[in-house]
Symmetry: C2
Subunit: 451 residues, 2 copies
């Protein structure tokens, strides 16, 4: 048995006409085409590039300033189900929040998508971070950050138990005896906890992957602990190689404290690649996009990130000195820290900061030739900062087409990326094991199965 | 303008290998094929027959005795989204409960499916009727019947307001000015009620149909009132023409009390057609299916319907005299009444009753030649008992193939059913208007739209 060389994993983070907030104003995009066909094209493009997966983000409120940008009309799990029909190999990851959902619904929908897609479903587990989301779900106040993660942990305990409530071979289809399912192999979960009481069993048989791939994207203290315990892939925003290395080492180390090996959790920093035939051309493209920025839009986003209203501060001055501290932030704590640090480290004015955040909302922007971008990816990959990357094309489909046609082949030539899909399931693409359902207990287990 | 002759509407109610509880044991079915391809085949078959819609039922617990039958592995909204990609004209209706869901999620998912399918989404609105569902959603006790309908009514008020929170022309995509959406045309809903507080607006633009087609399937007193107020199509179980006529007149009359015209609400009784080249052949097929019944399965279903455990009663005796009354039933009240009435009217033993319920769970079984079945449909349609039918094939795909190839052409020859789709949307198939979003109020409406 020859050792498989370690390879880069690539996820395409799809966002309507791209991650750059002004992409929709650029002539290379067509925001009016917000149909499913647009997303089918993107998913098939990513599949042509042999990427591990595509990913759809989500939020439970109209939370950006829709006057200047809007991220699309689809709810992720319904769109993902449609995309399952238009693709055959690529993994399909969607964000679903644990804050304003019920574990039974979420476990069931992901099991269903895993069946539909024959084992290609992944769940990006988030806690809802915006006040506006609470108000759409009969809550006056948003749950605080720590409680959200406590709820998320119990949510995962329940969903994993539900996915394991059917053994793989429970369905027997015995026409002669009239026995459809071996009910000894279907068990209630009988969970009673602080946030949830769920009897189970699930009403969906165990799916091809057993559990969907579990992805996580919060990098706060609570977020890292959660990732170390539950996540199999982590999306993260890191601005410098040193920060990326520190994060990588920390999360792998924490996973060890939970009895997991470092290979069981893949770290995927976000990158926003802007490519050009020459470095100058790439920089020109970046400038073209940045010239289309509407400051009001970025200001509303940045105000939320840093927790104060920046509209009354001069655009060409620095961030105000009297900012909140990370303890005051009840939204995305790690993004708050990253933005403040970036502004201070590089002594950016608010206007400059808006420009730095426009393409990737805090994720690293790699602007350059395909060789230069590939070099950066290889550097992060071989320097202990990444197992792969969450690719966030600033404009779509163009920037993804360029990445697939120009960067992927270089990675393939260097032996760093697959030239064909070898696995069938999303777990196989990421080199992750299929979890087995826990063995049936010796006691009677049919109590929860209706007669 | 020539008057359009009134035409029959047909919905195909899809259920894995068929509605007959023993269908999976019959050599004409293949229960092991529980993949999305099976459902794609059924949806395309119904579309070939020019049917108005397909429909998927749902429940939020493993509620039938899975040892002897199981209705399939998919969650309806994810499956429906996949089927949207494999069809182009037929309507797509899924059940979602108002009892253990949140209006924001449900409004959003149906808007998303309506976008995905280009205007073909329909929502069968139910209240959850089983104790086991409560226990999957952190509730000790199931909500009582009347409270469920109160919650359902408020749920509908909120979802309709959310669908109307975007005007149709809110997205303007003005690249020059940088204005993506006209935020004066996107308004919060600011609902505060007994069960829900929802700020809105929805984070999905208004969908092709404005609202999905609203379908309802409960025939109790509360159910009829709910239908009269909200439903545009009603699925109902009626055993006799007289009962069908009475129900039809009652619901249309009630709709009038809510200021609606009789044409705005379509009544679709369920029928389970078993076809044969001769009446004898059809009856032989029915007997073949009934011979495969496992009494334990039917007994567990019937016990739930009538609200007492029937396992200790002799199969060849009548239903016990000391049954609950309809007031005692907290599940499906109308099905309870129908079953008791059927057993008493025809003096059926429990075993005979099980056989009568096996194919359609209380829906009318039409066994005969294509001509005979078409005659029955025409009779119900022209006698004030139906605007169309909810077709429940006892085994699949065979019984749907027979219906499409043998019954539909007869209805077409009689001028009772379309020979081609004329409309594009599900509402157009049913001859129902697209609701307009309510006009924007004069007051400032941007309060709920983030800056």
């Amino acid at each position: 048995m020859s050792a498989q060389p370690r390879q880069i994993h690539l996820n395409a983070f799809l966002m309507h006409v791209g991650h750059h907030e002004a992409a929709w104003r650029h002539p290379a995009t067509n925001p009016e085409n917000d149909s499913v066909d647009h997303y089918v094209g993107l998913a098939q493009l990513a599949e042509r590039g042999k990427l591990d997966s595509i990913f759809l983000a989500d939020g439970l409120a109209l939370w950006n300033n829709v006057r200047y940008n809007f991220s699309g009309r689809f709810e992720p799990l319904t769109l993902l189900s449609a995309l399952a029909m238009a693709t055959s190999r690529i993994g399909l990851i969607a964000t679903v929040s644990t804050t304003y959902n019920e574990p039974f619904h979420v476990a069931r929908k992901f099991a269903s998508v895993d069946h539909l897609s024959r084992g290609r479903a992944g769940w990006n587990i988030v806690t809802s971070s915006q006040e506006g989301e609470a108000r759409n779900f009969s809550q006056e106040k948003h749950l605080d950050h720590h409680s959200r993660y406590q709820r998320a942990a119990e949510f995962l305990d329940v969903t994993r138990a539900l996915w394991d409530s059917w053994q793989d071979d429970a369905l027997v289809y015995d026409r002669n005896s009239g026995v459809y399912a071996e009910t000894d192999l279907i068990r209630p979960v009988n969970h009673t906890g602080q946030h949830f009481s769920v009897a189970g069993p699930l009403n969906v048989p165990r799916s091809p992957q057993g559990h969907p791939l579990l992805v996580q994207a919060g990098s706060s203290e609570d977020g890292r602990e959660f990732a170390a315990r539950y996540a199999e892939a982590v999306f993260t925003a890191q601005q410098t190689l040193a920060d990326g290395q520190a994060f990588y080492a920390d999360v792998k180390n924490r996973a060890g404290h939970h009895g997991r090996s470092p290979e069981e959790i893949k770290i995927l920093p976000g990158i926003a690649p802007i490519l050009g035939g020459t470095e100058a051309e790439a920089k020109r493209r970046e400038a073209e996009l940045n010239d289309l920025i509407v400051p009001e839009y970025g200001l509303s986003q940045l105000s939320k990130m840093v927790g104060i209203d920046l509209f009354d501060h001069p655009l060409d001055g620095p961030l105000p000195a009297d900012l909140p501290t990370v303890d005051d932030i009840n939204g995305n704590k790690s993004r708050f820290s990253l933005v403040i640090e970036l502004a201070r480290r590089e002594r950016l004015t608010i206007r400059q900061l808006l420009t730095r955040l426009a393409a990737g909302r805090g994720h690293r922007v790699f602007t350059g030739t395909p060789e230069q971008v590939a070099d950066q990816l290889e550097l992060w990959f071989t320097s202990g900062a990444a197992d792969g990357f969450n690719v966030m094309p600033p404009y779509l489909p163009g920037a993804l087409t360029d990445f697939v046609d120009q960067v992927v082949p270089i990675l393939q030539q260097r032996g760093l990326f697959r030239t064909e899909y070898e696995g069938r399931t999303l777990r196989e693409h990421y080199g992750l094991a299929r979890p087995s359902a826990r063995p049936v207990a010796g006691t009677a287990v049919r109590a929860g199965v209706p007669r």
